[in-house]
């Protein structure tokens, strides 16, 4: 997946992590721990990210509003906003709410707060129970939306958050090995692991994660470029595993980076034409491009 255009030098990324009310000590601890882990993953990246992590009593609705309003003031078009919500959600058939200390926050209220943020690329990862019910209120053009459940009727506590956190620190989640974990890669990883969890436990799955990035769909479980889901999610970076970006900023290597980007683009185009080519022809062309790409990368690594 090509992410060359995904992270421009001037773009800032704003992260907001909310760990809602656990209700029981076990959940309180679990939610807070996941939020802390996300916080440390994001901070360890060492780039100029703006991180707000709200957990325990700090996750009150007023604090969420304050944090979002601050970002609305600071962010610019072209920036990226990533909101990750951990905890319990509820759905009464009409309205979805995130359970927070004090008054809860409805999906509609969250949607209003998000709409005020000028960052044109947004990712909302709602990992609460019943989170599927928040899709209608949060769906918007240029916003990638991920939920742990497919509807409001999946009300059991979810495991998706656990695997989402794992995805952001596991190199295996980086399927295209470009040292950046995109929203799509993290979603696929967490969805796969959550499914595997229920399969291995021989339990009926009580959560079915969805991804929606078209601004008009109901969300899909296995996004693919054929149905246009995944295009935005694939181009939206969540974390980077190495200093790939630093290389792109090195003027001495800019020419090589440009060549590398072009080769990657040619490989993508060739892959799209695969079905129309004879297998041997495809293999020959692919090998030639891959060898050239590998040689370019070797030069870059010197």
């Amino acid at each position: 997946m090509l992410l060359a255009g995904g992270m421009t030098c001037s773009a800032a990324t704003f992260y907001v992590t909310i760990a809602g009310l656990g209700g029981e000590p076990d959940y309180e601890q679990r939610f807070a721990q996941w939020a802390s882990e996300l916080d440390s993953i994001l901070k360890s990246e060492g780039r100029d990210a703006k991180i707000s992590t709200l957990k325990g009593p700090d996750a009150a609705r007023a604090n969420v509003r304050t944090a979002m309003e601050k970002i609305a003031r600071e962010a610019r078009p072209g920036d990226v906003l990533v909101v990750m919500i951990i905890g319990h959600g509820s759905y009464d058939g009409v309205e979805y709410k995130i359970n927070l200390p004090g008054p809860d926050l409805s999906a509609a209220e969250l949607g209003t707060l998000l709409n005020r943020v000028p960052a044109t690329r947004q990712l909302v990862v709602n990992m609460t129970s019943a989170s599927g019910a928040s899709i209608d209120a949060l769906r918007k053009d240029n916003r990638v939306l991920i939920t742990a459940t497919k509807s409001g009727s999946e009300k059991n506590a979810t495991v998706f958050a656990r695997y989402w956190v794992e995805a952001l620190r596991d190199a295996a989640a980086d399927a295209d090995k470009n040292e950046t974990i995109s929203a799509l890669e993290a979603f696929r990883y967490a969805e796969h692991k959550a499914t595997e969890y229920y399969d291995s436990q021989k339990r009926l799955a009580t959560e079915h994660p969805l991804l929606e990035d078209t601004g008009k769909g109901a969300g899909v479980r296995t996004p693919s470029s054929q149905d246009s889901e995944s295009l935005r999610a694939g181009a939206l970076p969540v974390v980077r595993l190495a200093a790939a970006k630093a290389m792109a900023n090195d003027p001495r290597k800019r020419e090589l980076v440009t060549k590398k980007d072009q080769l990657e683009q040619q490989i993508d185009e060739l892959k799209y034409r695969k079905a129309a080519l004879a297998p041997e022809d495809y293999k020959k062309q692919l090998t030639a491009l891959l060898v050239e790409l590998a040689q370019t990368q070797e030069e870059l690594d010197k």
């Binding site: 295209d176 692991k193 291995s200 891959l290 590998a294 990368q297």
Partner: protein
């Protein structure tokens, strides 16, 4: 049949009762409204409709009668019998119980309950039938049922006596004569005079052959059973129960096309019991399976897991065949077919109508059906042990032409499992310990009863254990050759007492005495010390919770070996390993976990922990062996295959690494690129450059920027250019 020791399924969840089965008693209240309109209904009318096979109308008539006469037990009993005939055992049993509440010793109701219990192979069937006879000594149907139950228990003498008593009351009792004929057929007396007497009375009485077929199938003589069902249908083509059984058993032998034809005929003629419907559904699902053939094996796997399972199952199947061929000094005359079901309910369809639900594997002559490792919770199922168990049946049944008592073939199969490895087979569990303590084991001549009609919930499990220990005892005290000699004696139609007398020079009673004495001595420590062990484990668990690790070691030291077989949750090996690890004594922690594995511990996480500790200690080969164990327990684990592949690569076991990396890839991992890359490395090490290059291209096609793969590609290109 290999039984699941941990749990017995209550039933098959997906049974789809059709027709009348969907009509429940709960709707009775509604029917009150209909009474006025149907007040003229009589029992005779209901019976006439039933006889005319107008089942829905008959059901309605009975419903109205019962609502109109709620205190009449006879109506309830007859309605119950109709429901029983139309595959609704649950509601039939409810009606019989209601009749008994009205009239405590209602013979018909007691007989109804006996039939219900007999259908489910419950020991209570005998009790109910005897109560029915006490209420009505001339109830020949109850007497015949007792005869059938005795024959199911492999007690032909008792069965014959009961059938004779029925004939004494009613000389023309064709069902009693059919039991007599079945006894002869089971003894290979094909010229039984009973069938002539039956057909003189009723030339269309195919039911006699159907009963013979039932007993032959129960004794695993499937091909003969099928022939009998065919004879039954020649006499009575509309004997749908026989046609359904013909279809089910053809399917068991892999003759799917004719099976479908027979079952579809039943379905089209409204004979839609659970076996018929579920078998048809299973046949439909076979489009999702792929078949792999070699010279002596046929492997049928679900498409979704065929790539993963095939290398392991095929290799183990061949190893088992090679081993057994040598051990049993006997070569099979056709390939063994192994069917592996990822959905336990599909597998369960294969065992319907046979005793011992909850099985993990089952053998039908040369066809073995079993659960897939993916169909079970990780750690709960040793698939290789199950496969070897079933393969032993294939050999014993073939060598004896299926003339072998259940206790012997099961005993051999259990014994063979632990002969492959002491880690295989089932551990001595609390149910067996309880049975040993309360002297609930059966004399060897009655052991079949423990499998077919268990009189207490765990008796089937206990019977497997006992049968296995008997075979182990004979092999130890006499020789394995004695077991083979006994097998051939059974094949020559000798009875258990005669075989024991001939081969062991003991009466069955003398054998039981020696066996029980040896077993008592062997198990005395755990049986006598079980309570102390149990209390001790609870105490150790408490100490572990409070991190009092030295106390955990001190306290568990004496009690672990009272019951060394205990490797389930909360076992002392793991507590002790935790304690050693907490006290920074890793070698001792490894020692405890190795002992856990040797004793048959199967928790995947615990075995992985052992592998991690071994790898940390630089013992890569041992770590690989620890993980390789898991391939027999939890195949569906991508991480396992990847780790084992890495360990084997480090250990230069390249073929092993290729197998594991291929397995990892077959599980469609998230990190596809890394999986292809690992495989490329292994192929390259194995000097298979073409395949290595293909795998590498697959890795880079997935992730063009994957640095290690790029480096390897350049290396390969350079080395190719240098040639």
């Amino acid at each position: 049949m290999r039984l699941e020791f941990q749990r017995r399924d209550a039933g098959i969840a997906r049974m789809r009762h059709m027709s009348m089965a969907t009509l429940t008693l709960q709707t009775c209240a509604f029917v009150v409204l209909a009474v006025a309109a149907l007040h003229a209904q009589t029992l005779e009318q209901a019976e006439t409709l039933w006889k005319a096979k107008r089942y829905d109308a008959a059901n309605e008539s009975f419903r109205v009668l019962v609502v109109a006469h709620p205190k009449n037990p006879d109506y309830k009993v007859r309605w119950g019998r109709l429901l029983l005939e139309r595959f609704n055992r649950e509601d039939a049993a409810t009606l019989f119980h209601e009749a008994i509440e009205i009239k405590k010793n209602h013979a018909g109701a007691l007989l109804g309950l006996a039939i219900v219990a007999a259908d489910g192979f419950e020991a209570k069937a005998v009790e109910f039938a005897e109560q029915a006879l006490a209420a009505d000594p001339k109830l020949t149907e109850a007497r015949v049922l007792l005869a059938r139950l005795a024959l199911e228990d492999n007690d032909p003498q008792k069965a014959g006596e009961q059938a004779d008593k029925a004939l004494a009351i009613l000389p023309q009792a064709l069902d009693a004569m059919a039991v007599r004929a079945s006894i002869d057929w089971l003894n290979d007396r094909t010229d039984t005079p009973w069938i002539g007497r039956i057909l003189e009375n009723d030339p269309r009485y195919g039911d006699a052959y159907a009963l013979g077929g039932h007993f032959l199938i129960l004794n695993r003589r499937y091909e003969e059973g099928i022939r009998f069902y065919r004879k039954a249908l020649e006499l009575k083509p509309d004997l749908w129960s026989a046609r359904s059984q013909l279809g089910v058993n053809l399917m068991r032998l892999g003759q799917d096309d004719e099976a479908r034809e027979q079952l579809e005929q039943c379905y089209a003629n409204h004979y839609r019991d659970a076996a018929t419907v579920n078998s048809l559904r299973l046949l439909d699902s076979y489009k999702n399976y792929v078949t792999f053939r070699t010279g002596n094996t046929i492997l049928k796997l679900h498409k979704k897991e065929a790539d993963l399972l095939r290398p392991y199952f095929e290799a183990e199947l061949k190893r088992a065949i090679t081993t057994y061929q040598k051990k049993y000094a006997f070569k099979l005359d056709r390939p063994v077919q192994l069917e592996v079901y990822p959905d336990h309910e599909d597998f369960a369809v294969r065992t319907m109508g046979l005793p011992g639900l909850g099985a993990l594997g089952v053998t039908f002559g040369y066809v073995v059906a079993m659960d897939s490792p993916s169909g079970r919770k990780p750690g709960s199922f040793h698939w290789a042990s199950t496969m070897w168990h079933e393969l032993s049946h294939v050999y014993v049944l073939s060598a004896t032409q299926h003339r072998v008592p259940r206790w012997f073939t099961e005993g051999m199969a259990v014994y063979e499992e632990t002969e492959v490895s002491s880690e295989w087979g089932d551990r001595l569990d609390a149910q067996v310990i309880g049975a040993l303590k309360h002297k609930k084991l059966l004399p060897v001549t009655e052991l079949d009863r423990g499998f077919v009609h268990p009189s207490y919930p765990s008796q089937v499990v206990v019977s497997y254990y006992q049968a296995g220990r008997i075979c182990g005892f004979i092999a130890h005290e006499w020789s394995y050759a004695k077991l083979l000699a006994m097998m051939h004696d059974f094949g020559a139609n000798m009875t258990t007492p005669d075989v024991i007398q001939k081969e062991l020079a003991l009466t069955p009673e003398e054998f039981d005495k020696r066996f029980f004495a040896a077993l008592d001595a062997e198990t005395k420590k755990v049986v006598d010390g079980f309570e102390d062990w149990h209390k001790g484990v609870k105490e150790v668990a408490g100490l572990a919770r409070s991190n009092d690790w030295q106390q955990v070691l001190d306290k568990s030291n004496g009690i672990r070996d009272i019951y060394p077989d205990y490797v389930e949750a909360g076992n002392l090996y793991e507590f002790r390993a935790d304690a050693y690890a907490a006290l920074n004594n890793k070698p001792a922690a490894i020692g405890e976990l190795e002992q856990y594995a040797r004793m048959g511990g199967r928790n995947p996480e615990t075995l992985k922990r052992l592998a991690t500790l071994l790898a940390e200690a630089g013992k890569n080969s041992e770590a690989a062996r620890a993980l390789d164990r898991l391939n027999f327990i939890d195949l569906v684990d991508e991480e396992l295959h990847r780790r084992l592949g890495d360990l084997w690569m480090a250990d230069n076991n390249v073929e092993g690494a290729i197998r594991e990396y291929r397995a990892a890839l077959a599980e469609k991992p998230i990190d596809l690129a890394a999986s292809h890359y690992n495989l490329a490395r292994a192929y390259r090490r194995a000097n298979r450059p073409d395949v290595a290059r293909d795998e590498l291209l697959a890795a880079l096609e997935e992730a063009p920027g994957f640095r290690p793969a790029q480096k390897l590609l350049l290396e390969i290109m350079q080395s190719e250019q240098g040639k």
